[in-house]
């Protein structure tokens, strides 16, 4: 009985011994990936190189489904992802985006990325930040392993601004009138 408990104790010790390096190494198998913003990634990209990170943002532009089975798109982590201009958000500078590569097994098959009159799907992307990846000619991108949908895409309404339209037709009409008058004067 005592020999059996000693054996179990020894076995546990060996497992802990083997697991220790993995647990203490950077980007450990047990530690949760760090949550970072796109702005933080762009401000100090080397700090996260090769690290597993979680980034939240809106998928915009195109869903490029390539022949190798991966999908490439852009993830924007700017204020427009939460408060689009057409949805009442205010101007907050240029977009802040990174490229993301999503393997087919992690791709949820979204219909449309964000763009004009559409706030795209807001997701939390977990993956490894590949900074100046030598395997891809020095490109930087997030190599996604898991994608979680936070907000569904949101269609945005834009009303017809009638005043500029009427003013424009008025100006065109005035231009036509001046042109006709000019021609008549020339004929006379």
């Amino acid at each position: 009985m005592r020999r059996r408990s000693t054996r179990a104790w020894l076995l546990s010790l060996v497992v802990l011994w083997l697991a220790a390096p993995a647990a203490t190494a950077g980007g450990s198998a047990f530690a949760a990936p760090a949550a970072v913003t796109v702005a933080e990634l762009l401000a100090d990209p080397t700090a996260y190189a090769g690290e597993a990170v979680v980034v939240r943002g809106e998928l915009v532009g195109d869903f490029g489904e390539r022949r190798d089975g991966t999908v490439w798109t852009q993830l924007n982590g700017d204020p427009y992802a939460e408060a689009p201009l057409l949805g009442g958000g205010s101007l907050a500078g240029a977009n802040a985006g990174i490229g993301v590569r999503i393997p087919s097994e992690a791709w949820p098959g979204f219909d449309r990325p964000g763009g004009y009159r559409l706030r795209g799907p807001v997701v939390e992307a977990t993956g490894v930040w590949r900074y100046h990846d030598p395997a891809r000619g020095g490109e930087s991108y997030l190599d996604v392993t898991d994608l979680e949908l936070i907000h569904e895409p949101l269609a945005l309404e834009e009303e017809m601004p009638w005043l500029p339209l009427l003013l424009g037709f008025g100006l065109l009409g005035a231009a036509a009138a001046v042109a006709v008058a000019k021609r008549r004067r020339a004929e006379d």
Binding site: V60, Y80, L86, G93, R117, G138, A175, K182
Partner: protein, 499 residues
């Protein structure tokens, strides 16, 4: 003694300015059609308003024909300078009404940047911009790159357009008349356009997996910005958006084509001695400076240890040097990363921007021909010192045939080159005064003056208004190569103080 311009002078300038505005306004039919097809109602209304403004101003300005009086050199220069101030002002209306700019001045900055094929932008939230408005920004680059005044000359000016032609910083007329030269430039551009859209669209569709419509959209817009060495892009991450070496290579082909003079295009397409054009001083100078700046950039990036493999360094370094030297302004890295390219890498890219592409191309900067002639002068000066007194020093050079470097030509070359250097320093000085680091202030100033568009982040919606106005003036002066702007200033002074 300054001679005050009379009513007839104003009438001639007004007439031709009006005709140019009518031609420029006609281009609005394209984005308007795009917006109607895409049911983009807000842009539709802003395009109608802008078309109305162009039409009314154009018709009013050209309502009194100049009669017997002919357009002379100074009139043409003034028309060209005014055109390049007024077209962006009217062209910025749809941008200002889009809600994507902090102020009308920001929208004017973008329109000026587009028309002068610079590529710096203050637009906010580009990734949600209406496609028709994005198309308009890129079409402005196409109009400016090929020459909006040139388009008007091709349509209506006939034999009177020589001064308008030179006013827009065109330096060679390779066909007997200005109108036929203008028509060739637009014809060659349309052929390139069709070819470019097919090539870039195909790469986007087959390699990147974009939908057919989006492939065409990207192909068209990237062609406009690449061939016209403009630098605007459909998405906020510039060419880095595509994550594709094939797409970058295809884009680079059109950037180089855009930086070639239209005279060289003509010689390569139709000329009887097409390959002799490669012996031109300008072509050889461009090849030399490209090699020099690329070597500097590669060495700098290697010293910084930015890239971990030679192919990565070569791909990223070469693309940015090409983008800088051709005056395009495309990037595959964000400005926050470009700002960290110090030392030789910064020097290589900044020098490439400052020197620029070929004369009579869509590129900006000092231009290869002037650089080549300046180097030739330096060489002759060294020979003069080293060789015996009686030695004969040749002043000949080859540029579409044997030519002679005369004292008057030398003076003009040095003057314009010095003016560019002064313009670079002026913008850098204003940037420094606002507290930006020297390297950033100089980089952005050169980028604006040489109509490149690469940015280290100084040109942003939050920048001081005086700096914004400085960059606008730099883009305008750099595109027109000073002469037309000085003619306008002289005309204004004569109107006030002349007798």
């Amino acid at each position: 003694m300054l001679v005050r311009p009379d009513v007839q002078d104003f009438r001639i300038i007004s007439y031709y300015l009006g005709r140019v505005l009518l031609v420029a306004g006609a281009f609005l039919g394209l984005p308007l059609a795009w917006a109607l097809i895409g049911r983009e109602w807000a842009p539709v209304s802003s395009f109608v308003l802008t078309a109305g403004a162009f039409a009314l101003l154009g018709v009013l300005a050209s309502s009194r024909p100049p009669g017997e009086h002919r357009l002379d050199w100074s009139h043409g220069m003034v028309v060209a300078a005014l055109t390049w101030l007024i077209v962006p002002a009217l062209g910025s209306l749809p941008l200002a009404l889009s809600g994507h700019f902090g102020s009308p001045l920001d929208a004017y900055f973008d329109a000026m940047s587009g028309l002068t094929t610079t590529g710096l932008s203050l637009l906010q939230d580009l990734d949600h911009l209406a496609p028709s408005l994005n198309f308009w920004r890129h079409l402005l680059q196409f109009m400016g790159g090929q020459g909006i005044v040139l388009a008007a000359v091709s349509v209506f000016a006939g034999g009177v357009g020589l001064s308008l032609f030179y006013g827009e910083a065109r330096e060679e007329r390779f066909l007997p008349s200005v109108a036929s030269t203008g028509r060739f430039i637009w014809w060659a551009s349309v052929v390139h356009l069709l070819f470019g859209v097919v090539v870039l669209g195909s790469v986007a569709y087959f390699t990147l997996g974009f939908s057919p419509v989006r492939s065409l959209f990207h192909g068209l817009l990237v062609f406009f910005a690449g061939f016209d060495t403009g630098g605007f892009t459909p998405q906020s991450t510039s060419i880095g958006y595509y994550h594709s070496a094939v797409f970058e290579a295809a884009t680079a082909v059109f950037m180089v084509a855009g930086a070639m003079s239209f005279g060289l295009h003509y010689a390569l397409w139709r000329g009887p001695r097409r390959w002799s054009s490669l012996r031109n001083l300008e072509t050889r100078t461009l090849a030399f400076t490209l090699l020099l700046t690329a070597t500097l950039a590669f060495l700098g990036l290697a010293v910084l240890g930015v890239y971990r493999s030679v192919p990565s360094l070569a791909r990223q370094g070469l693309f940015h040097v090409l983008s800088a030297h051709t005056g395009t302004g495309f990037a595959t890295v964000p400005s926050s990363e470009l700002v960290r390219w110090g030392g030789l890498a910064f020097g290589g890219v900044a020098l490439a921007m400052a020197l620029g592409g070929m004369a009579s191309s869509t590129a900006g900067g000092v231009k290869s021909l002037r650089v080549g002639l300046a180097l030739r002068m330096l060489k002759n000066q060294i020979k003069l010192v080293l060789l015996p007194d009686k030695a004969v020093i040749s002043h000949a050079y080859f540029q579409g045939g044997a030519k002679r470097l005369t004292p008057a030509l030398s003076q003009a070359v040095l003057l314009v080159s010095l003016l560019y250097v002064a313009l670079y320093l002026l913008g850098a000085g204003v940037g420094l005064a606002y507290g930006y680091p020297l390297q950033d202030a100089l980089f952005e100033s050169v980028s604006a003056s040489a109509n490149v568009g690469l940015s280290v982040g100084v040109a942003a919606p939050s920048m001081p208004i005086l700096l914004e106005v400085t960059y606008i003036l730099q883009m305008w002066l750099g595109r027109l190569e000073f002469v037309a702007v000085f003619a306008l200033l002289g005309f204004c002074v004569a109107a006030v103080r002349g007798k």
